[in-house]
Symmetry: C2
Subunit: 155 residues, 2 copies
């Protein structure tokens, strides 16, 4: 299981803490409290270490409560001037912008993302998310539950 | 592979048609054209047959373009007075409301959903989505790529 993180670890987000919420595979309703915060979902840093990323929080909606799904669903918010790591890995990303605007860099390509713009990042494509704008950039990011550890890249 | 549908078929959506878009596992950007329509993503009926559901369209964002992910991402919109089938199956649902309001029924429970409210439906829970409101109810629905066929239930 080397190189696999499953529910445990993270990658594009190296935070393995679990909430105290009971870990049962039962139906759950996560009420949106407004401003992209949900009842029962806590704020976490994007990763617990590393200085190649700045100004990001994450909220794991699905994946750490005992769910049996083959995927995890997370919300990330990049504050103005913030960015994610520039990295690549075997696992794919699906990202749907739900708040503000941002930039997705995939390989040498850059695209601006606004509300509901959706990007699929295929395996081993170097990628990075940036927010050069004045408002926070929020997006839903879906990944396989079992996934490999990212490799950090130089610019 | 009996009881498995993978990319092919559907269940909570029995539409097996494929688009003419090339089936390659490459990065893709689906620009939101407004009103929850995306460039390169077509409108489909919720299911191709059956009369237990009414007034629903679906748009498959991720899952039919050759992607290697273990999950599919779809957008559904239920028009006023519409509803999905009442059904159950082994595979789970994750649903995030992105437009309007609706009702999710899970077992004997009913919850109203508004923007960003998120529901996890665990295996074998009878469920149904309804729109008793005046505006369309739109949501992102994420499921495992390989999943079993739903069993339709009586009310």
């Amino acid at each position: 299981m080397r190189d696999q993180t499953s529910e445990k670890g993270s990658l594009c987000e190296i935070n393995t803490k679990r909430t105290k919420r009971e870990k049962t595979n039962k139906c759950a309703f996560y009420k949106h409290k407004g401003n992209f915060e949900w009842q029962g979902i806590k704020n976490e840093p994007y990763k617990t270490k590393g200085n190649e990323w700045v100004n990001i929080i994450r909220r794991v909606l699905i994946g750490t409560h005992g769910e049996s799904v083959k995927f995890h669903v997370r919300y990330f918010e990049i504050f103005p001037e913030g960015n994610s790591s520039f990295e690549k890995h075997k696992h794919e990303h699906v990202v749907i912008c739900v708040k503000g605007e941002g930039i997705v860099r995939t390989g040498r390509s850059e695209r601006q993302m606004g509300f509901m713009d959706t990007v699929y990042i295929s395996p081993n494509i170097p990628h990075k998310f940036l927010n050069p704008f004045k408002e926070p950039f929020g997006f839903i990011c879906i990944v396989n539950a079992k996934r490999d550890r990212p490799k950090l890249l130089k610019k």
